[in-house]
């Protein structure tokens, strides 16, 4: 597995607007937790979910990656693994060049596709660890640091 560098991570988290693909409607879902955390860090967020009803499609909610604004360049992928490759493919077609595939959503197919297209790709890492984590996430980050698992 290719190592992810801190520079790559900085390239992603330095963005001010992030779209979340696989954003769930459920308030207690992992994606909602991520969104709440990123919003608290002052990121402007967009939400992508194929299942959003027409009535739900507001300023920052869309059905697909291709519906995102043209200037958006940062995508966080929280989809089920079987959907990740298609989402990454759509993002590449849209010109999105910073993609973070949250750990457990990554697949070899999606990773290879992103590498072939020279995208700044972060995978096998949790975004909480790199965006001022608090609580349990801060504890996980400390553990990772202690065991030398943080990117260099």
């Amino acid at each position: 597995m290719q190592l992810i560098t801190q520079q790559q991570i900085n390239g992603f988290v330095s963005g001010s607007t992030i779209a979340i693909a696989g954003a769930s409607r459920k308030e207690k879902s992992f994606s909602a937790e991520v969104a709440k955390h990123l919003a608290a860090q002052n990121y402007k967020l967009w939400f992508v979910n194929l299942n959003f009803e027409k009535s739900e499609l507001t300023d920052n909610k869309v059905n697909s990656v291709s519906d995102l604004p043209q200037d958006l360049k940062h995508l966080l992928v929280l989809t089920p693994a079987t959907e990740t490759e298609a989402v990454v493919n759509e993002a590449i077609g849209k010109g999105i060049n910073n993609i973070w595939i949250q750990q457990h959503s990554e697949t070899t197919a999606a990773i290879e596709l992103a590498h072939q297209n020279k995208v700044n790709l972060i995978h096998h890492h949790c975004i909480f660890m790199f965006t001022n984590p608090t609580g349990m996430h801060k504890f996980h980050r400390t553990l990772k640091s202690v065991f030398g698992k943080m990117p260099k």
Partner: protein
């Protein structure tokens, strides 16, 4: 010559078995086998009518060290399959501690539906190991 086809049918709880299914499908595609991935919930019986290989997957339920078995919903799915499927069969599972009796039980519920599985794949994290790849290579030879 028509290319071979495979279907990977999974039952996942937290996404690990689903990821494993996607990895198996991607590897098969690299080997020139047309592959489709579906969950047991979305499975349609037409899907298996003409395939050469069927991969059945389920997460390992049980008491960590003993009594491993497929989850009830997968058992219902296995019971609903048509009899005497001719495609070559493989089983896969994801687990925390050990797979124990998991494959034996999966085979039990597939008895009469398929021949005994000639490939058994297991993974803790949904990644496809080199050993897994070698086993798949032999299976599709």
């Amino acid at each position: 010559m028509n290319s071979k086809t495979a279907i990977i049918i999974y039952h996942s709880k937290r996404g690990t078995t689903q990821k494993y299914a996607a990895e198996i499908a991607f590897y098969l595609k690299k080997k020139g086998i047309e592959s489709k991935v579906t969950s047991i919930q979305k499975f349609k019986s037409n899907d298996i009518a003409t395939v050469d290989y069927i991969f059945f997957g389920c997460w390992t339920s049980g008491l960590f060290f003993i009594l491993q078995h497929p989850e009830k919903e997968w058992v219902q799915f296995a019971k609903s399959l048509p009899q005497n499927l001719t495609a070559k069969t493989a089983l896969f599972t994801t687990y925390k501690v050990r797979t124990g009796s998991m494959f034996r039980n999966m085979n039990k519920f597939l008895h009469g539906k398929t021949s005994d599985a000639s490939l058994l794949l297991q993974s803790r994290n949904g990644e496809l190991s080199e050993l897994n790849k070698n086993l798949i290579d032999k299976f599709i030879e």
